[in-house]
């Protein structure tokens, strides 16, 4: 108990001691201090910015400064404040307030001007990097002339904007406003490469390039190239556009999509496509394997279209032999011959439909090998009976009715 009491007393003493001590320190003192002379208000970036306050008494004061880059608090016992370089190197308005304790002694603003004596710097931007020919689309060139401390030069600084396109080389002057000088550079009618640069006094910028793409293609013509006119299902037709150009005569961009609609004699819509190289889009399509007439028209979707051409394919064959062997269980179609009476190239499709009592059992397909296709109807799978057989190859259709299979 005693011990506890003792501790309590000691504790209370310590607290009392603290209270007295602190009260003594915190005790306010009133001093009348006035600012006799305020500092000058204009400075140049990068030079030392010294704010001199002449005070009526020598006391320690604090200066709160605020610029667009941030705020800070400086302390001085002489009334002389040196701004840190992070603030003094930046152009702009700086506001300050001088404090004695919590009391405001003075308030004001200073202006820091860009330093024209330092070497000039240029910051330049160009975009977008690609535009379309024809004078409607443009790219924007923006130039910011700056002093050595990255401060934009004052408005109305003269900026030369230069560009080169084909054999045009031009130079214009704009005056900077709101820190930047800029211009919209509209495209010319031709496609090509636009090079841009700028200059302020002796300082020159790097080179910027802007791609001027051709405008939309105009309508065009198409034609076809064939090895022969026969419907052999093997050779390839090449379809080709004329050189696609825009309304200003520029050859349209490489890789432009051209789609060809091919409408066959039955009205089915076949499709092929190509992409342009030097304005010409080539598409390929296989010859049909039967007599046909194609109407072909090409499009750049929604933008341009071609004339319609018609190409006809003659049949390679009017008829072909069919041989039934082994009590009709082996059917040999062919030899299929082509227009010069040569064997048709391997791979012509032969289709055999097997029909029993008006009910189609199966469709067998085979491609020809050395002009022939052989079908074997095994007894295990096709029991003896009467069958109808339909054979189709190269657009020629043949029917054999009531064929007995042993």
């Amino acid at each position: 108990m005693n011990l506890k009491k003792k501790y309590n007393i000691i504790g209370i003493c310590i607290i009392l001691l603290c209270c007295v001590g602190f009260t003594a320190v915190i005790k306010p003192f009133v001093q009348e201090v006035t600012v006799l002379e305020k500092p000058k208000t204009s400075f140049v970036a990068g030079k030392e910015v010294v704010l001199d306050f002449r005070l009526s008494k020598k006391v320690t004061t604090r200066l709160f400064i605020h610029s667009s880059f941030g705020s800070t608090l400086l302390m001085s016992s002489t009334g002389r404040f040196i701004l840190p370089t992070s603030i003094s190197e930046k152009k702009g308005i700086i506001s300050y307030t001088l404090f004695l304790g919590t009391k405001k002694l003075a308030k004001g603003e200073i202006i820091i001007e860009p330093n024209l004596k330092t070497p000039l710097q240029l910051e330049s931007y160009v975009g977008p990097p690609s535009i379309i020919a024809g004078g409607k689309d443009y790219t924007m060139q923006v130039v910011i002339a700056k002093d050595g401390y990255d401060n934009p030069l004052p408005d109305s600084t003269a900026i030369w904007l230069k560009h080169q396109f084909l054999n045009i080389e031009k130079e214009e002057t704009v005056l900077s406003k709101d820190m930047i000088g800029w211009q919209n550079r509209f495209s010319y009618d031709q496609s090509g490469r636009l090079l841009l640069s700028s200059q302020v006094n002796a300082k020159i910028s790097k080179e910027f390039s802007v791609e001027v793409f051709p405008s939309l293609p105009e309508d065009f013509e198409i034609n076809s190239i064939r090895k022969h006119n026969y419907a052999d299902g093997n050779q390839i037709v090449e379809l080709m556009t004329s050189v696609l150009k825009d309304q200003y005569g520029n050859i349209i961009s490489d890789g432009t999509w051209v789609t060809y609609n091919v409408i066959d004699a039955k009205g089915a819509l076949l499709k092929t496509q190509g992409s342009t190289v030097n304005g010409v889009a080539v598409a390929k399509i296989l010859h049909p394997d039967h007599k046909d007439t194609w109407k072909i028209k090409a499009y750049v979707p929604g933008i341009a279209e071609s004339n319609t051409i018609t190409i006809a394919f003659e049949p390679v064959i009017e008829d072909y032999p069919i041989e039934f062997r082994m009590q009709n269980r082996e059917i040999v179609v062919g030899p299929l011959s082509s227009f010069m009476n040569q064997l048709i190239p391997n791979g012509a499709l032969v289709e055999v439909k097997i029909i029993n009592e008006n009910h189609q059992i199966e469709t067998l397909t085979k491609s020809t090998f050395e002009g022939k296709a052989k079908f074997v109807l095994k007894k295990e799978f096709y029991p003896s009976g009467i069958y109808d057989i339909h054979i189709k190859a190269l657009g020629v259709h043949k029917e054999f009715k009531q064929l007995p299979l042993e």
Partner: protein, 1028 residues
């Protein structure tokens, strides 16, 4: 205690360290789990007290797994790197295990020779070999080993009651807890309870003189007298289990595992799934299978009675889904979460002392005498030889399992990937490895870059993953619909996860990457293909994390290592005395209860023989049945199945051997035919199922129809093939199918084509890309777009044109809103679009609003794989308005546009046609995009179809497409006010770029058809080029 060193134990340790210590260098890295533990070790090595790991799953907490083993790897990695840490810990685990088994056997049998034999068998235990060398479960092994070390101390505490033993045992329990959480909890039940039973039995015996006289009353009385000690130990271990890994329990409570059960082989019916039976029953039991009667006979002797109950329970639980008992015992929930292989592991470890005892009796005890007396010495030696042979066979078989049936893809050289991730700020995005197996953890350990995937599925948080029974995205092809479905969601909306790079080690995934709009960047020198997605923003500098209080982090970082130190200090005396025999000490208390091995009853002797013979017969029958099932040419069905299996495994030589030898199809010709076929079916499909139907059959011929189901990354393909078979020389052979005889017209031909190249950065600098190196985004124009409702599914369909002068890669995000402009759903276009458009090219597109499949647990999951199937989002309110954000980026690759529609016939609902490849590259997977229009020629629906075979240049391919029934399709909204292209309004672009659009163009592309709900269709073609 005997002052002679136990030479059996020393041999076991030496052999164990040499055998396991050298072989881990060839096995451990390709085990299932070792690299995961390595990854965790790396985590602790990098930041010991951090509980959050950003590398996997968009961040996860490591508090979900007791850290001791991982932290040990981390600590040792400071000496010699991560792998050094891993191997060192593995070797320590081996030592702990062998000594643990020795001590366990000693307490059980009180015979140092028997315990020595048990230690030798511990080295060669097939379940231990499997757990270490195939599964790589280090924490589990360490946990059980330490628990075994604790058992003698627990015995002595309960028997003698000296506090020293209590501290010893509790300190060891603490180490067990911090190395593996499941081991002490179940170990309590399966090891410690029976041990306590044995102690009480021993104490009772002391009272009454022999085990025979111990009755229930005496047993209970003894139990009550020891109750205080038991309860002290019980409470002590409970406190340790809770306290030592307190952050784990807090984490478990706060983040309950939401992961749906992931199938595990140990839960299979081992009789049905024989591979699981092999791995989870036959191998772990190994040679013990032959000794079942002896093991049970011994364990059901009175002293070991409780161990008998325990091993019985363990055996039953370890049998997985073979019987319904484990499911009933554990309950549905625990059954689906626990991997049951651990029960078999524990059972087999529990049986080791008995195996040791048997060997002792067989080698130098009464069984030997009996054998010699009954059948002679030669017989005994032969029997011994056979037994040893069986043990060796099991060891070699288990060790080589990983060699003959690789569990993992070939070892991947990680350096090129690491270099790629380091270069050019590639690690500012997430990446996804595909086809890496468990090596993905090794990759993650070495890079700062993060992945959306991961290899510790309990820690997952993204609902896209937790709702799927998918182990990893990386191997999703083995997980059917759920796997591919998960993967597709990540690949379709990669922006959501800042996922920009995919490392593909399995070309199976390439098509899905392509059709989701990804493009190949380049192949690294280790053969890994890097895919990238344009228009994905980089990760923010500050990523979200679930922080935990500092005290938890401190506990997690300090306690585990502290438990080891404490255990070491507390047990050092024991180690010192026992290992170095520095002091003569008395035998421990349990040595009083030594069994004397005499008089094995004839019943047991005979039963054991019969059982072993039965086992061998069963083994023989099993092998024979497997042979018959696989004997390929016994009947037509087998021949066909074998043929397709061979095709699926790409064993073409074997496939050719099933072809009719009289068909003149030489192997060369066959290989050539195979070499020229490519496409979805032959290059990107896995055979999932097949069923065979015999159409007709005679003695020597048969006609067979085979239905095959193939899993591809894009869709399920059902294909029916017809084959004719002939019987020659009592073997069935397949008649080869006809192959494409078509001859292209040109031997050599030339085509002009525009290629593009984008420098990326033109300056070699680590700064941000200079603004003049950034290309303008290609301008796209949306020609039409609308919300369409088809039954309960909402979609946005539309058409879009690249109106710029450069090729564009297109990403479209659609957002649906309700009446109050509240967002209902947002999704990207997946594969119903041409993602790459050359200048002025048009594509139709459809965005399906896909939900995370089966978010609702009650929904029935389909049993069969169907990657094409998807779960439409269920809307509580009806979508009324929509917006579209289309983004174009300059594309320079995958601009193949060579497919031509060369023939077209429409018969009813069938569109038949011929595609012709006019380009210079093989179109590996051609895709048809079919748009449906109403009678006003307005787009109302879109559909797609993949062709299963590729088309080589100048070749053609027949296709058939069945038109859809869209009579229920409803147009909800077609106002195009809220469509943005590269952030600018679409209307503005329309006006500026193509002011005088020829509106009649669209109609020229349409094919009139009277269909169900539509009047016209349009067909567009797109193709994936596998080898550009």
């Amino acid at each position: 205690m005997d002052k002679f060193t136990n030479k059996y134990l020393i041999s076991a340790l030496l052999i164990g360290i040499v055998f396991h210590g050298t072989s881990i260098f060839f096995t451990l890295e390709s085990t299932y789990d070792a690299l995961i533990h390595l990854f965790f070790g790396n985590h602790y090595a990098n930041d010991w007290f951090e509980s959050w790991n950003y590398s996997w799953y968009t961040g996860f907490t490591v508090l979900g797994y007791p850290p001791l083993v991982h932290q040990s790897i981390g600590l040792l990695s400071y000496i010699g790197g991560l792998k050094f840490g891993l191997f060192s810990v593995a070797i320590i685990a081996v030592i702990l295990f062998i000594t643990g088994v020795y001590r366990f056997a000693l307490v059980l049998t009180s015979n140092r020779v028997v315990a020595g034999y048990a230690a030798i068998f511990a080295v060669f235990s097939s379940s231990f070999i499997e757990t270490l060398h195939i599964f790589g479960q280090l924490p589990s092994v360490v946990g059980i080993s330490i628990l075994l070390h604790a058992l003698p101390e627990i015995y002595l505490w309960v028997k003698i009651g000296k506090y020293r033993y209590l501290w010893n045992s509790l300190s060891l329990i603490a180490v067990t807890v911090t190395s593996h959480h499941v081991t002490p909890i179940f170990g309590m039940v399966f090891f410690i309870f029976p041990l306590l039973g044995m102690v009480i039995m021993d104490a009772s015996k002391e009272k009454v003189g022999s085990y025979q006289q111990v009755r229930l009353r005496i047993f209970l009385k003894t139990f009550l007298s020891s109750f205080k000690r038991i309860i002290t130990f019980g409470i002590g271990s409970l406190v340790l289990i809770i306290f030592c890994i307190l952050p784990y329990w807090i984490n478990t409570k706060n983040n309950p595992i939401t992961q749906v059960p992931i199938p595990h082989g140990s839960r299979d019916n081992f009789l049905e799934v024989t591979s699981s039976g092999l791995v989870f029953f036959l191998i772990p039991w190994g040679i013990l299978l032959l000794l079942f009667p002896y093991i049970w006979y011994r364990f059901f002797s009175k002293r070991y009675l409780f161990f008998g109950l325990s091993i019985t329970l363990l055996t039953v639980l370890g049998s997985g889904g073979t019987t319904p008992i484990p499911r009933m015992l554990l309950g549905e929930n625990a059954f689906n979460i626990l991997t049951l292989d651990r029960f078999t592991l524990w059972a087999s470890i529990m049986a080791l002392p008995i195996l040791g005892e048997f060997t002792y009796r067989f080698v130098e005890g009464d069984i030997k005498e009996k054998n010699i007396k009954k059948y002679g010495a030669v017989y005994h030696r032969v029997l011994g030889g056979l037994f040893a042979g069986g043990v060796l066979f099991m060891i070699i078989f288990t060790m080589s399992l990983g060699y003959f049936r690789p569990l993992q893809p070939q070892k991947i050289k990680m350096l090129p990937i690491l270099n790629f991730l380091k270069q050019d700020q590639h690690d500012h995005w997430r990446y996804l490895p595909l086809g890496f197996g468990d090596q993905m953890a090794w990759l993650s350990s070495q890079t700062n870059a993060m992945t959306v995937d991961g290899n510790y599925h309990s820690a997952r948080r993204l609902p896209e993953l937790t709702t799927r029974a998918v182990e990893r995205l990386e191997n999703s092809k083995y997980r059917g619909i759920e796997g591919i479905g998960s993967l597709q969601q990540f690949l379709t909306v990669p922006e959501k996860y800042n996922l920009k790079y995919v490392f593909s080690n399995d070309k199976f995934y390439d098509p899905i990457l392509f059709f989701c709009g990804w493009q190949r960047l380049r192949q690294l020198e280790n053969g890994i293909m890097v895919w990238e997605k344009l228009n994905v923003p980089p990760l923010s500098n500050i990523l979200p994390k679930d922080d935990v209080p500092t005290f938890q982090k401190m506990m997690w970082g300090i306690i585990p290592v502290l438990t080891v130190l404490l255990a070491f200090i507390i047990n050092i005396q024991f180690i010192w005395i026992h290992a170095l025999k520095s002091k003569q000490v008395g035998f421990p208390a349990y040595f009083k209860f030594k069994s004397y091995y005499t008089g094995l009853t004839n019943t047991v002797y005979t039963t054991s023989y019969l059982w072993a013979i039965l086992m061998i017969i069963l083994f023989g029958i099993g092998s024979y049945r497997i042979y018959i099932k696989n004997a390929a040419q016994i009947n037509p069905d087998n021949a066909i199945k074998a043929y397709y299996d061979a095709l699926d495994m790409k064993r073409y030589k074997a496939a050719h051997s099933y072809l009719d030898p009289k068909s003149n199809k030489t192997l060369d010709q066959y290989m050539l035919e195979v070499a020229v076929t490519d496409g979805l079916l032959s290059s990107y499909a896995k055979l999932d199922d097949m069923s065979v139907e015999t159409i007709s059959r005679s003695d020597s011929t048969a006609r067979i129809k085979i239905y095959t189901q193939w899993v591809t990354p894009l869709e399920k393909i059902d294909k029916t093939f017809y084959h004719e078979l002939v019987k020659r020389n009592r073997k069935w052979f397949i008649q080869p199918l006809a192959y494409d005889l078509d001859i292209p017209p040109d031997q050599l031909f030339a085509t002009n084509k525009t290629f593009f190249y984008n420098h990326g950065r033109r300056r070699i600098t680590s700064e941000q890309t200079y603004h003049e190196d950034v290309l303008k985004q290609p301008v796209l124009e949306v020609l039409s777009a609308k919300i369409i409702q088809n039954q309960d599914q909402y979609s946005i369909v539309g058409e879009l044109q690249n109106v710029d002068n450069v090729p564009a890669d297109v990403t479209i995000t659609g957002v649906l809103y309700n009446n109050n402009d509240d967002q209902l759903a947002s999704y990207n276009v997946k594969h119903q679009i041409k993602h790459k458009l050359i200048p002025k090219e048009i594509t139709s597109f459809k965005i399906d609003f896909e939900n995370i499949a089966w978010l609702n647990n009650e929904e029935a999951k389909p049993k069969i794989f169907d990657p094409d199937q998807f779960t439409p989002i269920h809307f509580d309110e009806n979508p009324v308005t929509f917006n579209l954000q289309c983004v174009g980026n300059v594309a320079t690759v995958d601009l193949f546009k060579g497919l031509v529609i060369n023939e077209l016939n429409i018969e009813g609902e069938q569109v038949n046609g011929v595609l012709f490849n006019s380009g210079l590259q093989e179109a590996t997977i051609p895709q048809l995009l079919v748009s449906y229009y109403n009678k006003d020629k307005a787009l109302i629906w879109m559909d797609h179809s993949f062709l299963s075979q590729g088309i080589r240049p100048q070749r053609k391919q027949y296709f058939t497409y069945t038109l859809a029934d869209i009579s229920k399709v409803k147009n909800i909204n077609d106002t195009m006010d809220n469509i943005l292209v590269n952030g600018l309004p679409n209307a503005l672009i329309s006006k500026k770029l193509v002011p005088n659009r020829k509106e009649d163009y669209a109609a020229t592309q349409l094919i009139p058809i009277q269909g169900k709900g539509f009047h016209y269709i349009k067909i567009e073609v797109n193709a994936y080029v596998g080898n550009p």
